[in-house]
C-alpha cells in the first residue's frame, strides 16, 4: 500500500514537470499532502499517539490545505498570470525528471541497507532533485516557492524512512516545513506582493556583479 502511495507521488512529479498552469501545481501539492498524510499514517506505526497526531495534523492541515489555499490566495491577490513560464520546453523537462528518477533508482541499487526501505530513498531523492529542477527551470517566483515545497515533501518522505526510531527528526522536519514555508510565504505575501505588482523573477535579479 505504502509503495503505491509513494509511486503515485513520483507520478505526480512527472505530471508536474509538464504542467502548464499554476492551478495544476496547486492541485498536485494538495495531492502530495494527502499522499504524505496516508504514508505517515501507514509508516509511523510504533509512535506514541500524540506525536503521530501532530505529524498527521501537520501533513493534512498544513501541507494539504493551508499552503495551497494560501498560495491560491496570493495568486489571486497579485493577479499572477496563470502560466508557469518554464525556460525549457515541457518535453525536455519530462526527460530530465525521468533521468533524475532513473539515476535515483540506479544510485539506490548501490546501497545495501537493511535499515532503509529503498522505495523511500528513491522517492525522496527524486522528489528533492526534481523540486530543485523545478526551481531552476521556472521563471516565476511563486514557482520557486512551489518547488521548495516539493523539496520539503521529499525531505519529509526521507524523514519518514527513519521516523520510527527517531521521531525527533521527523518533528524537526515538520518544524523546518512550517518555519521555512511561513518565512518564505510571509515575505512573499507581505512584501513582494505589494512592492512589485507582477512578481516576475527578472525584477529580482538586479543585485549582481557582472
Amino acid at each position: 500500500m505504502i509503495d503505491i502511495l509513494l509511486i503515485t507521488l513520483t507520478m505526480s512529479l512527472l505530471y508536474m514537470s509538464i504542467a502548464n498552469r499554476l492551478a495544476t501545481y496547486l492541485r498536485i501539492l494538495v495531492m502530495q499532502g494527502l499522499i504524505l498524510f496516508g504514508t505517515t499514517f501507514l509508516t509511523l506505526t510504533d509512535l506514541n499517539t500524540l506525536n503521530l497526531l501532530l505529524i498527521m495534523l501537520e501533513t493534512l492541515g498544513f501541507k494539504a490545505i493551508a499552503v495551497p489555499w494560501f498560495m491560491n490566495y496570493i495568486i489571486k491577490k497579485n493577479h499572477i498570470t496563470r502560466e508557469t513560464e518554464p525556460y525549457l520546453p515541457n518535453f525536455i523537462s519530462l526527460l530530465i525528471v525521468t533521468v533524475i528518477l532513473v539515476s535515483a533508482i540506479i544510485l539506490s541499487s548501490f546501497i545495501e541497507e537493511e535499515f532503509l526501505d529503498k522505495t523511500f530513498f528513491v522517492v525522496a531523492f527524486s522528489t528533492i532533485f526534481s523540486g530543485l529542477y523545478l526551481i531552476v527551470s521556472r521563471k516565476k517566483i511563486i514557482t520557486h516557492v512551489i518547488g521548495y515545497i516539493v523539496i520539503e515533501n521529499g525531505v519529509f518522505v526521507l524523514s519518514l524512512a527513519v521516523g520510527n526510531e527517531m521521531p525527533m527528526l521527523v518533528n524537526l522536519g515538520i518544524m523546518l516545513d512550517i518555519f521555512a514555508t511561513v518565512l518564505i510565504l510571509g515575505i512573499f505575501f507581505n512584501k513582494i506582493g505589494d512592492v512589485i505588482k507582477d512578481p516576475d523573477v527578472n525584477l529580482l535579479s538586479n543585485l549582481k556583479d557582472n
Binding site: 528533492i128 523546518l176 556583479d209
Partner: protein
C-alpha cells in the same frame, strides 16, 4: 545557565520589539550587553561542562563566544549611531524591530556556538536566518527586498540540505546502533559509524553550512545580504554569523577526523576553499561597490580558513586563529563604511575619493584595515595566513600554495586599487560644503578592534593559545 540566558535575551528582544520608548531601548540593550558579558564570563569558569546534554561549553565555542562579545559591543553602539543619522525614515517601530532582531541574532549565534547537539545547532541556524532577514530588510525598498528574498530562499535550501545531511547521519548511526545524536557521542563513536552514509551526510551538511560560512557553492546570497543590510548588521553577518557556520562545519568535521574518510572530506573542503579564493579574486579585481568588496574579501578569508582546516597540522590552529582575527578585522571595515557613506552618500567606487582629505581618522582606519584585510605584515592576519601557508608547504601542496599566492596577489591588487582610489584620488563630483564633520571618536572602536587583532596575533596571551590548542584537540 545557557537556558536562562536564552530565555532572558529572548524576553529582552521581545521587549525591544514592542517597546516604543527611546530610553527604554537604551536600557534594554544595555541590559542585554551586561547579560551577554556576564554569560560569557560565567562560561569562562565552566569550561567543558554539559547542560541538558544539548549544550557543552568547549574551548572553540568559548573562543568564538568571547569574540562575539567583543564585536557585539561596538556593533550595537554603531547601530544606535546609524539609526540616529539615518533617522529620516526611522519609526520607533522600525528601530525596535532592528534592535530586537539584532539581539536575537547575537543570542542565537552565542547559544549555537555552545550547542552540543546537531539538531540544536540546526534550529539556531534557522533562527539566525529569521533574525538576519529582518535586519537585511531594514530599509524597506525593492533592492533590500531582493536581497532578503535571495538570502531567505538560499538559506532555506541550505537548511534543507543540512537536514538531509542529518537524516543520512541518523542512518549511519542506526548502522552503528547509536541513539544519542550529541556531538560528544558521535565523536566518541565515530569509528563505528557507517562510512557510506557518513560521507553523504558530511557532503550535504557541508554544502548547507557554506551558505552561512560564505564559501562556494552557497556563498552567493550572503554577498547580497551583507550588501543590503545596514553596515552594523553587515558587520555581524560577516563576522559572528560566519563563525556560526564555522562552528557547525568544525564539529561535523570533527566526527570525520581521524577516520579513514578524513582525506575525502579534506578534498571536498580544499575544492571549495580554492574555488572560494578564486571567486574572490574574480570579483575583487572588477567590483565597484565598496560594501560588496568587503563581503568578497570575507569569502577569500573563509576560503583560506577551510584550506588551513583541511590541510591540518599547524593549519588547524591557523584556521581557528584566522577566523578569530577576521572576526575583529572585518567589522572594523563595516563600521568605517558607515562614515564613508555619510561623507559621499554613495557606495560606488566611482563617486568616492579623497577620503583622506575629508575624514583623516577614518582614512587611517581604512588604510590599516586594508593592510589587515590583505594580511600584509604588520597586521594580525598575516600571522595566521603565514601559518596556513606553512601548513600547505608542510603538506607538500606547493603548487596549490603558489596558486593561492597568485590569487591572493590579485585580490590584493583589486582591493588596493579600490581602497587607494577611495582614499586619495579626488572624486569626480562632490559638493564639499555638504560633507559633514565626523568626530574622530566614531573611529575609536575600529582602532581598538584592529589593535586587538594585532596584539592577539603577535603576542597571544597563554590562555588564548591554550584555548586554541584545546579547540584543535577536538579534531586531533
Amino acid at each position: 545557565m545557557i537556558v536562562l540566558f536564552l530565555i532572558a535575551s529572548i524576553l529582552i528582544s521581545c521587549g525591544l520589539f514592542i517597546n516604543r520608548n527611546e530610553f527604554v531601548r537604551y536600557l534594554l540593550v544595555g541590559l542585554f550587553l551586561v547579560l551577554l558579558w556576564g554569560f560569557a564570563v560565567y562560561e569562562c569558569f565552566h569550561l567543558n561542562q554539559t547542560e541538558f546534554g544539548f549544550f557543552k561549553t568547549d574551548s572553540l565555542g568559548l573562543l568564538l563566544l568571547l569574540a562575539l562579545c567583543v564585536v557585539a559591543l561596538p556593533a550595537l553602539f554603531h547601530s544606535f549611531r546609524y539609526l540616529e543619522v539615518h533617522n529620516t525614515d526611522e519609526t520607533p517601530h522600525s528601530k525596535g524591530l532592528f534592535f530586537g532582531a539584532m539581539v536575537l541574532l547575537i543570542t542565537a549565534c552565542s547559544v549555537a556556538y555552545l550547542s552540543n547537539h546537531i539538531a540544536v545547532t540546526w534550529i539556531f541556524v534557522e533562527i539566525t536566518t529569521l533574525s538576519a532577514s529582518t535586519l537585511i530588510y531594514h530599509h524597506r525598498n525593492i533592492r533590500a527586498l531582493e536581497g532578503v528574498w535571495k538570502y531567505v530562499f538560499i538559506c532555506a535550501i541550505s537548511i534543507t540540505f543540512i537536514y538531509v545531511g542529518i537524516l543520512f547521519l541518523s542512518l549511519s548511526m542506526k548502522r552503528a546502533g547509536i541513539e544519542d545524536m550529541s556531538f560528544t557521542s558521535l565523536y566518541s563513536n565515530r569509528m563505528k559509524l557507517d562510512p557510506y552514509w557518513l560521507k553523504f551526510s558530511f557532503l550535504f551538511i557541508f554544502t548547507g553550512f557554506t551558505a552561512k560560512l560564505g564559501l562556494v557553492p552557497m556563498y552567493t546570497a550572503g554577498i547580497d545580504a551583507k550588501d543590503k543590510a545596514p553596515a552594523p548588521a553587515g558587520a555581524l553577518l560577516s563576522s559572528i554569523l560566519m563563525n556560526l557556520g564555522f562552528v557547525g562545519l568544525y564539529r561535523v568535521y570533527a566526527i570525520l577526523a581521524q577516520t579513514p574518510y578524513q582525506s575525502w572530506a579534506n578534498n571536498i573542503m580544499i575544492i571549495s576553499g580554492l574555488l572560494s579564493i578564486f571567486v574572490a579574486a574574480v570579483y575583487m579585481t572588477r567590483i565597484t561597490n565598496i560594501k560588496r568588496m568587503f563581503a568578497y574579501s570575507s569569502i577569500e578569508h573563509m576560503g583560506l580558513v577551510v584550506l588551513g582546516l583541511s590541510v591540518g597540522g599547524i593549519g588547524t590552529y591557523a584556521a581557528i586563529l584566522h577566523i578569530l582575527l577576521h572576526t575583529f578585522v572585518k567589522p572594523a571595515l563595516f563600521f568605517q563604511y558607515n562614515q564613508i557613506y555619510w561623507v559621499y552618500q554613495s557606495k560606488s567606487i566611482h563617486d568616492v575619493g579623497s577620503y583622506f582629505k575629508y575624514n583623516k581618522t577614518g582614512a587611517i582606519v581604512i588604510l590599516l584595515a586594508f593592510i589587515s584585510a590583505t594580511a600584509m605584515p604588520p597586521s594580525g592576519l598575516f600571522v595566521s595566513e603565514f601559518m596556513i601557508f606553512q601548513s600547505l608547504f608542510e603538506a607538500h601542496h606547493l603548487p596549490m600554495l603558489l596558486v593561492v599566492l597568485l590569487l591572493l596577489t590579485f585580490v590584493m591588487w583589486g582591493f588596493g586599487s579600490n581602497i587607494f582610489k577611495l582614499l586619495f584620488t579626488p572624486p569626480t563630483t562632490i559638493d564639499e560644503t555638504k560633507i559633514p564633520r565626523i568626530s574622530p571618536w566614531e573611529s575609536l572602536s575600529q582602532y581598538l578592534l584592529l589593535g586587538l587583532s594585532v596584539y592577539m596575533a603577535y603576542n597571544p596571551p597563554t590562555a588564548l593559545v591554550q584555548l586554541i590548542n584545546d579547540a584543535v584537540g577536538l579534531i586531533q
